[in-house]
Symmetry: C2
Subunit: 287 residues, 2 copies
DNA sequence: TCGAGTTCTTCTCACATTGAGTAATTCTCT
DNA sequence: AGAGAATTACTCAATGTGAGAAGAACTCGA
């Protein structure tokens, strides 16, 4: 090790404040279903940099006063209008990953700890204190080159962006540009969400307390952007132990377009789905 | 939002330095195989707090000068003696997660971005500048209540610690105590490693350029702590597209205890295993 | 009110994958 | 040379999946 590095480390071990500071923020990729489509919570920035641009909700972690998860829950509550008593307890919140390229914020070195949230359909967002607006935006408008099968009959061969930390210029022909590296964080969050519902029962976090198998299937179809075989999905959900349990009840109406009244279920006690409920046709993405 | 919070946020948006600082560090859970057993790289702390205790290698991120991944690679290189030219390029390094409970470091609020590394068998570790020692320690000594099937004939019904952020007192009857919350980070890293080799070909990162199917099976057995059916494993590895590709060569010797010379393979071009190579008997851990 | 169309739920069948066991062959060690 | 073990390739049964079909229940419009 070079002498300069060694001295840096010596100082750091005793007084980290001798260094230039690094700011720590949390950002939240909050997903929900509205009218059958996947939406993400965004805020419009009210101050530079990126003033006027859409961004993920987030903010600085309060030093010495909160953990990362608490900070994320606080930021999410500020934009959704929910608090712990209100219904944030029904929201799934997990850590997604941290983003710390030195140049990702023009002001200073900022490390952002991104989180991922799954929420049932919530009321319209309200802007927090430092945002000009907050809204649920359909992810279809934000993801270039990605369309749900069901919503777009054109075949789409180009596939999705592969890894994390992508995001070169000129790859976003439609939808608003996101501030900072938030487009990459959103892409990572969507990747994680699409994987997570394969191995966990968290798709139920997008629904209310009671739901039908068809509503659960609609969650998978919206998140994956693929249509699923209704009969096979039904068989699979009921065969995985602990995924759902029957309430004994029945929906009060049939579907809008007809059909019998479906039975109602609630989330079961499984934390992992075994065997998993895998996405169809994943061979292409394997290499 | 309370007025005080609002003012905090206003200030933070323009000058984060007005806050108490949060330090950002990286820690690395570096895993390797030595003599058929899974080992993790630890350093012995040379300064308080936790002076003399074992800890994960890590250190402060250099503000404005490096990304999180670069910082983790640097810290790993300092303890392993490898650099980019040397062989660190053959090490798999990924982000594991961030840990930011305010009280996790008694000195100040420190957010640590943990990373996970898979390395082929490396030479003995050397202590970095601020460590009193560095060594590869068998994880069997560090994980209470967990023993490989193959190494321990006693049945073990109690199962592993379930979630992250565990680590209450009195649960570690053997092995050294780790500093800070590093026991929890290590547990999360082992969880991640055990999952990761199910869905990715990263088990090959523990091996040299060329390897036999049996050596690959030994990796799975060491990481999972379970014995696998040799015939089924062989069939599975060769049937998953892109997992391994034949070199055409053959091992120069048979195994130490006899048997024919095995054929040699190298890692294929797949980034995901499809279908996955799932751990046996996971039903217990599902709820 | 009736009929068309849709949905919910359950089957059936073909096919792929897995777990368990067997066996031929080749090598090391004593 | 013989015992023991590893490599590799089989077989067979059990399980899970994709695709399709079908009956019953329901909504909507004629």
């Amino acid at each position: 090790m070079a002498p300069q590095q060694e001295e840096d480390r010596f100082l750091a071990a005793y007084d980290p404040r001798a260094f230039d500071p690094i700011a720590v923020t949390v950002d939240v990729v909050a997903l929900t279903l509205r009218e059958g489509a996947l939406h993400v919570l965004l805020v419009r920035r009210g101050a530079p940099p990126f003033e006027g641009a859409w961004a993920l909700p987030g903010g600085f972690v309060r030093a010495g006063r909160e953990s990362l998860g608490e900070a994320a829950a606080r930021e999410l509550a500020e934009e959704t209008g929910l608090d712990a008593a209100d219904g944030l307890g029904r929201v799934h919140l997990e850590q997604l990953g941290s983003y710390g390229r030195p140049e990702r914020d023009p002001r200073m070195h900022v490390v952002s700890v991104a989180h991922l949230a799954f929420a049932p359909d919530l009321p319209d967002a309200r802007a927090g204190s430092d945002a000009a607006a907050a809204a649920w935006i359909s992810v279809v408008e934000l993801e270039p080159g990605w369309q749900p099968d069901a919503a777009d009959p054109r075949p789409n061969e180009q596939g999705r962006r592969s890894g994390a930390h992508g995001g070169g210029p000129g790859r976003r022909p439609e939808g608003p540009e996101l501030a900072f590296d938030h487009a990459g964080i959103l892409a990572d969050g969507l990747d994680r969400a699409r994987s997570k519902i394969e191995y966990t029962p968290l798709a139920t976090a997008f629904l209310g307390e009671e739901f039908t198998i068809s509503e659960l299937r609609a969650v998978y179809e919206a998140v994956w952007g693929a249509t699923l075989h209704a009969g096979n999905f039904h068989r699979k959900v009921l065969s995985v132990p602990g995924f759902v349990e029957s309430t004994g009840g029945t929906a009060t109406h049939g579907s809008v377009r007809g059909g019998p009244r479906a039975r109602l279920y609630r989330a079961g006690d499984a934390r992992l789905l075994h065997p998993a409920l895998l996405r169809p046709d994943r061979e292409e993405t394997v290499r």
